[in-house]
């Protein structure tokens, strides 16, 4: 059994910031990351981020990732990193089991845990939605931007939120044709700057449209789409066929919450936070003592807020086990204010409604 002070599950923006913050408070931390490198979603995000300056707005995601890893390296003697290691269980006695590659299991006992596992991509129901060639938009982004491999030649993007719009643009940067972007909603969900950029490149964005079926034998060959009426029902006779070998599904993310459920954290389904999320207090501690959360696992938001939540959660976790940062109060207030600022817009209002549902004392 391996003993550590704070185990951080997931090395995305939330986990990395939690580690920086806890280590700077004096605690020893272990980051456990399933991927072969740190960074979470940031490793594939070649676009410049939105958000405010404190969270590196107008810096590319891949560069933010390196900035955070650099910051973390200042605390070398306090931070241990295990990559290629997936946490597969969290138990009542505080033991965590993790699997290294497909080779061996490791048992870890820690005084506190910060779960920052992020999210997973949702799928959409339509006939033949399981054909190869139909991929999550994030998966296509990984294939292109991490491995330099094109997903195919012609793509239909389903979902016009920011992810759908950004990945469409990145597909074109990689030399892949995007036939159209669909969205079932009457309005484009993502930012207009992204949408106009794509329209200027000649890609139609079809709102009030959805996928009727996918056609193909071994893999996707065609996609049939149709228009939706006010009640989101297909309108007969509006079907259109697209010759595409790739369909990207970008209809939202859900918190990756299984470990928290397994550990017995009290959970609640909150639509504004995109799924089943843990109840937590202001310090991001769940209803199970010494189990903290940060980032998308506690509600789908953005990298900017994931980072601030990480800092806050790391600071509070360290304090809980006896490492109070000398500027604890000042830092905590600053992080809480930053979160308020980030949540001051229209989307933020939604998030704030959601967080009210899960906040406990």
């Amino acid at each position: 059994m391996k003993h550590v002070e704070i185990a951080i599950i997931g090395g995305g923006p939330a986990g990395l910031c939690a580690a920086i913050s806890a280590a700077s408070s004096g605690a020893n931390v272990l980051i456990i990351e399933r991927n072969n490198k740190l960074g979470g979603q940031l490793v594939k995000q070649t676009h410049m981020f939105f958000g405010s300056e404190k969270q590196y707005a107008s810096t590319r995601g891949i560069d933010i990732c390196n900035i955070l890893i650099n910051k973390l390296s200042k605390f070398k003697d306090k931070v241990e990193i295990m990559t290629d290691t997936t946490v597969v269980g969290m138990y009542e006695d505080g033991v965590i089991t993790a699997m290294y590659k497909e080779e061996k299991y490791i048992k870890i006992k820690s005084e506190a845990v910060i779960a920052a596992t992020g999210a997973f991509e949702k799928t959409l129901a339509f006939p033949n939605n399981d054909l190869p060639g139909i991929y999550g938009a994030g998966a296509v982004q990984t294939l292109m931007n991490v491995y330099g491999v094109k997903p195919g030649n012609k793509v239909l993007m389903v979902g016009a939120g920011n992810i759908g719009l950004i990945v469409s643009y990145q597909l074109m940067q990689a030399g892949v044709e995007v036939k159209a972007i669909l969205d079932a909603a009457p309005k484009i969900g993502g930012y207009l700057v992204h949408a106009s950029k794509i329209r200027r490149m000649g890609v139609p964005i079809l709102t009030r449209h959805s996928v009727k079926e996918a056609i193909g034998k071994e893999y996707l060959e065609k996609a049939v789409i149709c228009e939706l009426d006010e009640k989101w029902q297909p309108i007969e006779g509006t079907e259109k066929e697209f010759d595409v070998d790739v369909m990207c599904i970008s209809v939202g993310l859900s918190p990756l919450n299984e470990l928290l459920v397994m550990r017995g954290c009290e959970m609640k389904y909150v639509p504004q936070l995109s799924g089943l999320v843990p109840l937590r207090d202001e310090n991001y501690e769940t209803t199970v003592g010494n189990v903290f959360v940060a980032g998308d696992i506690s509600g789908i938001e953005e990298a900017s807020s994931a980072m601030v939540e990480g800092y806050l959660s790391g600071l509070c976790t360290a304090e809980k086990i006896g490492y109070k940062h000398e500027k604890f109060e000042e830092l905590k207030n600053d992080y809480l204010n930053q979160l308020d600022d980030l949540r001051s817009g229209a989307v933020g209002k939604h998030i704030l409604e959601g967080t009210k549902e899960i906040l406990v004392n």
Binding site: R34, T46, V149
Partner: protein
């Protein structure tokens, strides 16, 4: 299907290595995932579903969904989207649940 020129990214690929897919020799690069190397060579069907034998490809590419399970060096149920390619690997389409040895 590899990207050669990219406006932002410069792909530093590892050493070229060989592996087999259902007995056929394929080339990939050190450091990439098995699924990425297969996709680059045009292989999209990685396995089949257990009950209805429908073709399966990857879906999430980050280890969440188990859509990419294959038999690798004789071991079934390997998530090929997060398993690194190695020289000489024997990769096969998975049919059924796979035997546990």
């Amino acid at each position: 299907m590899r990207i050669d020129k990219h406006p932002i990214l410069d792909f530093k690929r590892g050493k070229k290595i060989k592996f087999t897919f259902n007995g056929q020799e394929i080339e990939g690069y050190e450091g990439e995932s098995i699924a990425a190397a297969l996709h680059a060579s045009g292989v999209k069907v990685l396995g089949e579903s257990i009950l209805k034998h429908r073709p399966r490809g990857f879906y999430c590419a980050i280890g969440n969904c188990s859509s990419c399970l294959m038999v690798v060096d004789g071991m079934p149920n390997v998530k090929t989207c997060i398993t690194e390619l190695k020289e000489g690997m024997v990769v096969e389409t998975q049919k059924g649940k796979g035997k546990i040895v």
